[in-house]
Symmetry: D3
Amino acid sequence: MSREKILIEALPYIREFYGSTMVIKLGGHALVDEATMEDVIKDVVLLRFVGINPVVVHGGGPEITRLMERLGKQPKFVAGLRVTDDETMEIVRMVLVGSVNERIVSLISKHGGKGIGLSGNDGRLIIAEKLRRVRRGDVEEEVDLGWVGEIKAINPEVIKMVVTHGYIPVVSPIAVDEQGNSLNVNADTTAGEIAAALKAKKLIILTDVPGLLRDPRDLSTLISEISRDEARRLIKGGVVESGMLPKLEACVKAASVGVVCHIIDGRKPHSLLLELFTDAGVGTMLR
Amino acid sequence: MSREKILIEALPYIREFYGSTMVIKLGGHALVDEATMEDVIKDVVLLRFVGINPVVVHGGGPEITRLMERLGKQPKFVAGLRVTDDETMEIVRMVLVGSVNERIVSLISKHGGKGIGLSGNDGRLIIAEKLRRVRRGDVEEEVDLGWVGEIKAINPEVIKMVVTHGYIPVVSPIAVDEQGNSLNVNADTTAGEIAAALKAKKLIILTDVPGLLRDPRDLSTLISEISRDEARRLIKGGVVESGMLPKLEACVKAASVGVVCHIIDGRKPHSLLLELFTDAGVGTMLR
Amino acid sequence: MSREKILIEALPYIREFYGSTMVIKLGGHALVDEATMEDVIKDVVLLRFVGINPVVVHGGGPEITRLMERLGKQPKFVAGLRVTDDETMEIVRMVLVGSVNERIVSLISKHGGKGIGLSGNDGRLIIAEKLRRVRRGDVEEEVDLGWVGEIKAINPEVIKMVVTHGYIPVVSPIAVDEQGNSLNVNADTTAGEIAAALKAKKLIILTDVPGLLRDPRDLSTLISEISRDEARRLIKGGVVESGMLPKLEACVKAASVGVVCHIIDGRKPHSLLLELFTDAGVGTMLR
Amino acid sequence: MSREKILIEALPYIREFYGSTMVIKLGGHALVDEATMEDVIKDVVLLRFVGINPVVVHGGGPEITRLMERLGKQPKFVAGLRVTDDETMEIVRMVLVGSVNERIVSLISKHGGKGIGLSGNDGRLIIAEKLRRVRRGDVEEEVDLGWVGEIKAINPEVIKMVVTHGYIPVVSPIAVDEQGNSLNVNADTTAGEIAAALKAKKLIILTDVPGLLRDPRDLSTLISEISRDEARRLIKGGVVESGMLPKLEACVKAASVGVVCHIIDGRKPHSLLLELFTDAGVGTMLR
Amino acid sequence: MSREKILIEALPYIREFYGSTMVIKLGGHALVDEATMEDVIKDVVLLRFVGINPVVVHGGGPEITRLMERLGKQPKFVAGLRVTDDETMEIVRMVLVGSVNERIVSLISKHGGKGIGLSGNDGRLIIAEKLRRVRRGDVEEEVDLGWVGEIKAINPEVIKMVVTHGYIPVVSPIAVDEQGNSLNVNADTTAGEIAAALKAKKLIILTDVPGLLRDPRDLSTLISEISRDEARRLIKGGVVESGMLPKLEACVKAASVGVVCHIIDGRKPHSLLLELFTDAGVGTMLR
Amino acid sequence: MSREKILIEALPYIREFYGSTMVIKLGGHALVDEATMEDVIKDVVLLRFVGINPVVVHGGGPEITRLMERLGKQPKFVAGLRVTDDETMEIVRMVLVGSVNERIVSLISKHGGKGIGLSGNDGRLIIAEKLRRVRRGDVEEEVDLGWVGEIKAINPEVIKMVVTHGYIPVVSPIAVDEQGNSLNVNADTTAGEIAAALKAKKLIILTDVPGLLRDPRDLSTLISEISRDEARRLIKGGVVESGMLPKLEACVKAASVGVVCHIIDGRKPHSLLLELFTDAGVGTMLR
């Protein structure tokens, strides 16, 4: 394809996206592999060159586990959720806010952008309550997982302020409750809630698979577009694997207020740019 | 003294300070003792009630040492400065940004304010270079202390943005160099540089002594007011004890652009309010 | 009570009142006794130091009577209202606008504020019609008292303009009718109508008694708080004495649009400040 | 002259004057004769119809004398200036502010404009000092005339505020000194100083003669245009009669900052409009 | 009538019209006779002196016919409408936009105004469709007149922009269809539609007769004011002659949204000014 | 080259050009060949999609010659300049403003943009004087070419207004003199002067050759970049062929105030986009 064709294809997207907000969730490989992370951050900074306001939300489970182990603390999970006592919560904050978030902000700075790290404490950005019940199979049961929260509200003012002034916000998935306690919340869910609260143009979840697969073991079953209703049926049907589940739920939530959602392969170089500026698109789109 | 007298005394101060910025350095006892810290934060939040914009800068040396020890790492100091290798720097960031800063922001939120945690990475707030030389007695010698920095510039835009929108910024003393590396910087120095860059109305350093003492062992030798020139003479004379030295230097720096500086006793309840709103004043003033 | 307690008590009030408008009615002793008047004006000017916008309304009956007598004119009252022929109206204007109002504006200036005198003519601030009927006991009867008016409308734009630009407006209770004639109106009523039209935060009536007394002869029967409904019952019951009646009616009127009203003792030094900035409060509150 | 010629002649003046400020001094006949006053005020209100901002300054000597006499006080003059003791000053304020000024504001209102009465106390508009010396013939001598002032400064902010909001300010010639005392000042001088402080487009003094006459007894000696230098020579020469002197001095003062000044016959109907909107002009122009 | 009477009569009109928009249609004699055209343009420029925003719409039929003939092309009319093939349309554009419009803009410039020429292409100002049907007597029949259009919509943004910035827009009656083709539209209709879209204060049509005549051959039958309903009756009755018909229809259209319309004699000097600024008025008014 | 590489290459250009103004000169083939013209206009409209403000300037010599011939008028040239009598000037205006300009505005509209046609008359955009002297070889001689002008000043306000409101201005090279006469000016010169007056980011001249050739007959001698000094030397040396001469002079003029200039091949599809958004560049750049 000739250069001018690619440009003529891209320019209308650039116009369409100018001034819009996009929430980008970084997780998995993109956090673990230094080179991939740097590539993704480069693309995020490029987005601001064409007037897009990126909002980064990151995860960090493996890093938390690693520090816990170094401090001689055995991680414990119930229904896929990390049991979070006081000391674990302190470790979670140190890893997410003090380590992962700081690292992303540094990289943004290194590539010519201006980042600002945020947690749910900052401007009471993410309000949550303790999680009281989880679903196992068909049964919902009461649990006490310590400082594990479910999000109740987003106060997006602080993100809007930061974005308006030309900064790229980087958000750690830590929430605050009414009493000022910190709570551990899921990063995909956080990204979905923030995208919804901002009425973002897009939510883009970078992950380690090509997108939503009808059969997780067969890459040829990639679903390139799915409706909200169909996604809800899949979720209810219990056929979505556990890693994809919160991602798909986050998309359904955000799409319900008009956010266009994409689950794409963060391992593929520049998948972010290809998704945004070419007709082809990659991964799975949900709207 | 009657209520109305106290009010009539206070109202003109309130008018004078309305809309002004004050940098408040928290350290020592005020960080260690939970009740004292909560009292100080309550007063900080009250300041916003009367139109003052507080900017909090915190330290955290003992907390860093504690985590290093838990992780089996021996803290090492040269000329009072912490030798900071890669792993130590990671620990410093986790403790200052992920633990102490988050805790202060939580308390602000608990008492009705809206805080935002910042490090020198955020918006490239604090720019530093590696420290290459230290002074021991009369001799200046070359050193390599790892990621220990000296501040070269402050980009106060991010603080101004945060303050303008009604938030209380809480700053961790971590700087960034041109290559995007994090550096460990002194908290008192950071407070002084930020106060100068903001052309703050006041810099108030809360510490564990009543103020600057002519004889550190004799509380009756409190200096209630000192000029910049005299302070410089004391510093040169080598008679200022090591804990007070960076505080006094920070005041001299800030005062050189018109900031009125106070070193006051953070252990005394509400010393902040008494200093600001009564004719008496407490501690040592430098201008 | 310690200084810091008083301050901690006062600061939230200062925040609450910042930017709000308060109508202050001066009458009786506060107009007659020079020292008291000067004290009150000092406090009014202090209010602007903490961001409050005071609006002063004054009376002046005794001063009018004095000049009438000097000019050889016998004052005549019907149902407590001054019969006002052309010449009397001219005297009323000269005394209120040319003498009392000017005196208050001078004192504001002397104590560092900037006042502006206004009458109902200025910007057609107070619109009235001739009073046609008065109530004596249970009977309403037709009267012709000359240029005595009842207020029909307030055009608060001129006050808002003055306040927005940092001036303290001082209002004389003179109204204007559709034909441009001047009318003599009650000062308490004027204060109540202006407070209502401005949707002021508070209406504070300074008078010569401690507040509303259940038994006017017994100071121990002070009513510290009263509801609008109860006030209306008292008024209907005919048990309110004639001096207090227009004050109470003014409060009921203003309170009906959300103004919090206070009738306090203007003879007590700094009662204004104590009412506003302490938990205790003085006099009678109606809301 | 045909209607269209008059219009074509007038429209460029209307454009030229749009948005400009004009100080109009009312005195003599225009204050005494009700019909003339009403005609002048009608024209003043019309000026706002075409975007001109009129500022009215009035006199009132005869009215002051009348009230003094009614109150049994003998007016006394030295060098043409009214000796002003405390009681006289009180009478001056009552007459100028409470009577004449109020009357003009009422008439403005009656003819569809919105006036605001001002004295030198309002917003510290006119600052003066006690007059210490007067000139008699060639000799300057010390005097004590009581509360007679000479103007030291004008704070035009309050007039600008009023004008910006669409009101017509009406100014009484009363000044205030640093101690807050009221002082009696000359109305022509006041008009000239205000015109200068506002850098008005024009100063128009309405008087009882056709303009400046070379020979006061011979109307055919009207000077239709005079330079500042020539006016100064006339003043120095002592040939200007006493009523015209302060008018001419006021014009010289105002003209020195670029105000175009006119002394015109206030007894001639609509002389104001003819002066402003026709090529012919009336009276004497000084620039 | 005295000068001052004329001024007093005119000033309220000037106030009333200040800031308002007036659409002025130039046709017939005013386009053909150089001196008349220059007089009209002078008056149009004068209008801006008193804050009126004139919008000029022009015709140009005779000029088009002349160029067609020079190029050896025979003009053809059906039902009074010019049959417009491709070549004719090109000629229409050249004459209206390149010749007549440019000439008017030059004259505006010559007399101190700033004009901007516009056609319906500019900012898609005038949207039309091909005319498909015409009315002959009582019968409506299908026609194909080539590029003759009927107006479907006006996009007045470009006119508003031009007016807001102090320019006088001059509009040629050429429209554009959805496919970007140019269409020939009636100038009176265009003026009426633009006046309606702008919700102009007035539409003034300059023509070669004194106004609407009840009997076109009898000047004494001038109708000085007519209601919309009556105008509609005349139109339906078929008694309006063909030149007046589109003018009257344009007025009915514009009047339906509150525009006051005038058909006046463009041959009479300064009829525009007399209509606007005197009580008398000239020609026919419709509202 | 991969899609993502092309995008990564283009995005920084898009950022750099966002909000900037670019003057694009259309001439030669791009005006004659319908398909080429449409392609160029499509690209011009695309520029607005990425925040660039294009300003189009067009020529039209061959079209003028054609209409002159149809009207039986023999074109005459002196030193390459069209002798322009009154009738010729009228033809020039009709062709440029009424035909070529209208056609470009229509095409912009057809492709989704909003154009506005302008000539030098509009808002007195282009001020010129009659050309009095021309250079032939080394000799400068006096001439009278009729209405041929040389540009004296540009009033860019009207272009700025149009651009600010989102329109694409299309400018015909017709100027106006102080007396309001129209003058025929060179289109390349006009483009250069307008680019300079606007301090445009770029001036791009589309022509029928690949750029500036060292030897006009040898395409391999294309100069891809040239300094202003070198360009001046070429011009002085008399080796630039007559068609390229005004283009090169226009570039030198514009470059002297910082405009980056490009002479590119308008026959090559999308040369505009390739020049702007790829590292390669096409044609000749002068800065």
